[in-house]
């Protein structure tokens, strides 16, 4: 239905275009249909992005509050009381609320910013534009996807304000802690809201994912074979497949938890004596939950990471003026990573008492993931070798991503080794590892994407100087925040600790903690620069040229002013792969995908595709 409509809409649009006014395409659109209940992928993409930016600031603010506590334990910060009220009596953060902040911080960052925000923004913006489609396969489902996401954000946000506090059992919500309000106050209404919010979120992720897959498979323009797809689109599609296969398992896990919480079942509960009484529920296993959770949980980290890798592949190639090295190997390694990500979940559970042989299998599969990851890194490095690099802010962030991917990926080799994980499991070493490889890499990929495609989103350019400033402060601060955490972990400090001073042996770490917090605060300030640049440029930035980065991909052939249907008139046809940069003999250092081989006899080579 939707597709037909869009296709029909397009000629009409181009017709209007002929008459010349830029605002033509919304002549029959009210404010509501254009900005709120929009079915246009470009608008939905912006809705995702702006919601995610808001959520990211929220989660970052939380991390600053708990960082203060970690480096100046129990020191009163009077302003805290005015922000968080009873949880900050006398300016000292409450230990239960500390856990609540950590939990909501992690949940928001992982799901709302780096899953919903990242995929929602860029899959939506780029899939139709880069495969040459008028819109998503179903604009309506796409709109629903955003509104489920929005509803779920609202529920999560609202949970912060309830009497007993939000969920506080960690973003992994392991039962029995998350099942029993007697065990921690956050497991009452707060946990219920967390579960409701996540189920809404998963509905959104599924609606989005199915749409992305359908669009890539069905709506590619003429000539756009799978091996001519930009790596971004490959990454988005693989991500969507991962999501569609793994998120339902989280729903199942959550549903059983709901039963245990409110209907007296015992899927996850057994032999529990709490609040002075033995519970009736016996026969369940808390470990079952972990298996279900991490069956989603591990693919989830690639759901976060792959889109970022896709974006940076595209940006690094474009700004290096050089084809991505090993295009097919890049696709292959993403596929292998995606496949393996379903059979490594046990590496989160080495010390749960799992059968050691099963543990060995997970060590094997986990370390295998390092191979395709290494291939990707080497291919990036080979791409910048002998390149002709334009250091736009997007390119800088993409390089930053590769650097973080290396740093964080390598410590994964240590954590994936069960014998070493015995000592490092759940320590700050893990916190350092995943913030670098998943948090920072994915965030840098997202920033790179925003800087690079901002002209495509808003028709204006972002300010470069502010962009560089943002890049340098963020790069330095992020390394200064997360690298020293390895040392805290090697000193044996557990994560999710309200203070590290519970054991005298850790007192000496307080300096490292201060260092981390100072840089965390600076990092926060740096993000304000980004926010300013983003919103200022949205309205006041210089108008974007048609193809600001002299890029090959299709999205830059669509008019700068957004049209419903993307291209006036015919959808362009594709004649080559997207990475013909600096081809020997070619007139320019790029040949857009729309240029047929017959027009470039001087640069055609055997094996072109």
């Amino acid at each position: 239905m939707e597709i037909k409509e869009n296709i029909h809409a397009a000629p009409a649009v181009s017709h209007d275009h002929g008459h010349g006014h830029d605002d033509h395409h919304d002549h029959h659109q009210s404010f509501w249909t254009k900005y709120v209940f929009s079915t246009d992928h470009k608008m939905i993409s912006k809705q995702f992005l702006i919601t995610a930016i808001f959520m990211a600031f929220l989660a970052m603010g939380m991390s600053m509050i708990f960082r203060l506590q970690l480096s100046w334990p129990n020191h009163p910060f009077p302003f805290l009381e005015s922000i968080i009220g009873k949880w900050g009596k006398g300016g000292v953060l409450d230990s239960g609320f500390y856990l609540a902040l950590v939990t909501i911080h992690g949940t928001i960052m992982v799901f709302f910013v780096l899953t919903g925000g990242l995929s929602g923004t860029f899959s939506n913006l780029l899939i139709p534009l880069q495969v040459g489609a008028r819109d998503m396969a179903s604009g309506f489902l796409n709109m629903l996807s955003f509104w489920f996401f929005f509803a779920s954000s609202i529920v999560m946000f609202a949970s912060i304000f309830i009497e007993a506090g939000p969920a506080s059992g960690g973003w992994t919500i392991y039962p029995p802690l998350s099942a029993l309000p007697q065990a921690i106050p956050g497991s009452g209404l707060g946990m219920t809201m967390w579960l409701v919010s996540m189920v809404l979120f998963i509905v959104s992720a599924l609606l989005g994912g199915i749409n992305y897959i359908a669009t890539v498979i069905n709506l590619r323009t003429k000539g756009m074979s799978m091996t001519r797809l930009p790596l971004t689109v490959w990454a988005f599609m693989i991500t969507a497949i991962l999501g569609v296969l793994s998120f339902p398992v989280l729903v199942a896990a959550a549903l059983l938890l709901v039963f245990d919480r409110s209907m007296g079942t015992s899927f996850y509960l057994s032999d529990i004596f709490i609040g002075g009484v033995p519970l009736d529920q016996v026969g369940g296993s808390p470990i079952l939950f972990q298996h279900l959770f991490w069956f989603l949980g591990h693919p989830e980290v690639y759901i976060v990471l792959l889109p970022a890798l896709g974006l940076s592949s595209e940006i690094i190639s474009t700004m290096s003026r050089k084809p991505i090295f090993g295009y097919k190997a890049m696709i292959g390694s993403m596929l292998v990573i995606a496949f393996l990500s379903f059979i490594v979940w046990g590496h989160h559970m080495f010390v749960t008492g799992m059968n050691p042989f099963l543990g060995s299998v997970f060590v094997f599969t986990t370390l295998l993931v390092a191979i395709p990851s290494a291939v990707k890194v080497f291919n990036y490095i080979a791409t910048v070798w002998k390149a002709n690099i334009i250091l736009s802010p997007a390119m800088m962030f993409a390089i930053g991503l590769v650097s973080f991917f290396i740093t964080g990926g390598l410590t994964g080799i240590i954590l994936g080794d069960s014998a070493l994980d015995i000592n490092l499991h759940d320590t700050y070493f893990v916190v350092a590892h995943f913030h670098i490889v998943m948090g920072s890499s994915a965030f840098f990929g997202m920033f790179a994407g925003v800087y690079h495609w901002f002209p495509r989103m808003f028709g204006r350019m972002m300010n470069k100087t502010l962009g560089y400033f943002h890049f340098w402060t963020t790069l330095i601060c992020v390394y200064a925040v997360f690298f020293p955490m390895h040392f805290i972990g090697l000193a044996g400090v557990p994560r999710r600790y309200y203070t590290n001073t519970a054991y005298e042996g850790w007192d000496g770490l307080i300096n490292i903690n201060e260092l981390i917090t100072v840089f965390a605060l600076l990092a926060g300030v740096a993000q304000l620069i980004f926010a300013f640049n983003f919103f200022y440029s949205m309205f006041k930035g210089p108008k974007a040229p048609q193809n600001p980065w002299r890029s090959n991909t299709l999205e830059w052939t669509a008019p700068v002013e957004h049209l419903h249907g993307n291209w006036p008139g015919e959808i362009p046809e594709v004649h080559r792969w997207p990475y013909d940069y600096s081809k020997p003999g070619a007139k320019e250092d790029f040949i857009p995908q729309t240029v047929p081989a017959s027009e470039t006899p001087e640069s055609n080579r055997p094996g072109d595709h």
């Binding site: 008492g353 650097s403 014998a419 759940d426 402060t473 201060e514 600096s582």
Partner: protein, 348 residues
């Protein structure tokens, strides 16, 4: 603090360097992006990348050395020595890869900055090269997998050796209790429904194996040096994780399921005090799985002593099945310990 200053200064330098460019902020806010502007950006940011790489790698080495004193001291258990060795090998391997790749990345970005007079080298693929950097990581990883797994198997198989002294470590919100199996080296059965004020572990006192079981009085546990110990972990309420950082030992405590870990302490507390040069040093058992608001206070002192000292200590602890006449007094004592801890936790 020193380090903080150094980094702050470095940051300051970079920031001012960038701020100098703010002069052109006005021009770029208002419009077009000239080629020379971009060339200048490329140059300065390229230099920035190199500076960052060199300074960053330098600082990493500096920090690693400087923070050594704060890291865990040498492993105090047999398997811990082995895993520490393994950890060092792993660090060496990833360290090398880290340096090579980071240097290559930043160096190339600096070296191959844009020039209008040059074209990038069109180099879309090279099968041989790609095979090479698939096969080399595969070999290196295989070596790491093999060494890692052989350690892992040794450590986990020892549980079945049958020569360990059985010690139960029992976690609850927010404290630990330990129970020693006594002469028969068998713990009496327990059941969570039997838990009561005078029976915190829910031990079935009618089980003959429980007759010689001994429970700790205060919030500390003793273990003998050079004697293999088979820990059995249980939890009363939510998940906990018994983490002995100095022994490189950790196992989750799961309600409804007993988990095990086998380890042999090799260094007594007194020896470790000498090694660390810290008179007050003590081993510790901490909880390493989020378990509630006072999770971070859930710890126990661990004391490693010679066998003889251990034996005499154990005599002074409380039998799980109490002799009738002394019950009230002893219970009071234990309850006090528990209550005190709870009070302390509540106060926090």
């Amino acid at each position: 603090m020193n380090l903080l200053l150094i980094i702050a200064v470095l940051l300051g330098v970079l920031v001012t360097a960038r701020l100098l460019n703010v002069v052109q902020l006005a021009s770029s806010l208002s419009g077009e992006d000239k080629d020379e502007t971009q060339a200048r950006h490329d140059k300065w940011n390229g230099i920035g990348m190199m500076t960052f790489m060199i300074a960053g790698l330098g600082l990493m080495i500096y920090m690693t050395l400087k923070y050594q004193p704060f890291m865990l001291p040498e492993a105090a258990s047999k398997h811990g020595k082995e895993t520490d060795f393994l950890l060092n090998i792993n660090f060496a391997v990833i360290g090398i890869v880290f340096f090579i790749t980071q240097i290559a990345l930043f160096w190339f970005v600096y070296k191959y900055r844009h020039s209008a007079s040059r074209r990038a080298y069109f180099y879309p693929e090279n099968m041989k090269l790609e095979m090479l950097w698939t096969i080399i990581p595969t070999i290196v990883l295989s070596a790491l997998i093999i060494t890692g797994l052989s350690s892992w198997n040794r450590i986990t198989n020892d549980v079945n050796k049958g020569d360990g002294m059985v010690v139960q470590v029992y976690g609850y919100q927010f404290n630990w209790i330990t129970r020693y199996a006594g002469a028969d080296n068998m713990l009496g059965k327990s059941n969570f429904r039997l838990i009561a004020d005078d029976n915190p572990l829910g031990v079935d006192v009618s089980d003959p194996a429980a007759a010689d079981d001994i429970m700790t009085k205060a919030n500390e546990m003793y273990i003998p040096v050079g004697q293999p110990i088979l820990f059995e972990f249980d939890s009363r309420d939510v998940l906990h994780s018994a983490y002995f950082p100095h022994f490189r030992a950790q196992m989750n405590c799961v309600p409804g399921m007993t988990t095990r870990f086998y380890m042999e302490p090799t260094i007594t507390t007194a020896q470790m005090r000498e090694i660390t040069g810290n008179e007050k040093f003590d081993y510790v058992l901490v909880c390493n799985k989020i378990c509630g608001v006072a999770h971070y206070t859930m710890k126990m002192k661990v004391v490693v002593v010679e066998q003889a000292e251990f034996d005499s200590w154990l005599k002074g602890e409380r039998p799980v099945v109490p002799a009738p006449e002394v019950v009230p007094a002893q219970n009071n004592q234990i309850d006090n310990t528990v209550d005190n801890n709870e009070a302390a936790n509540a106060a926090v």
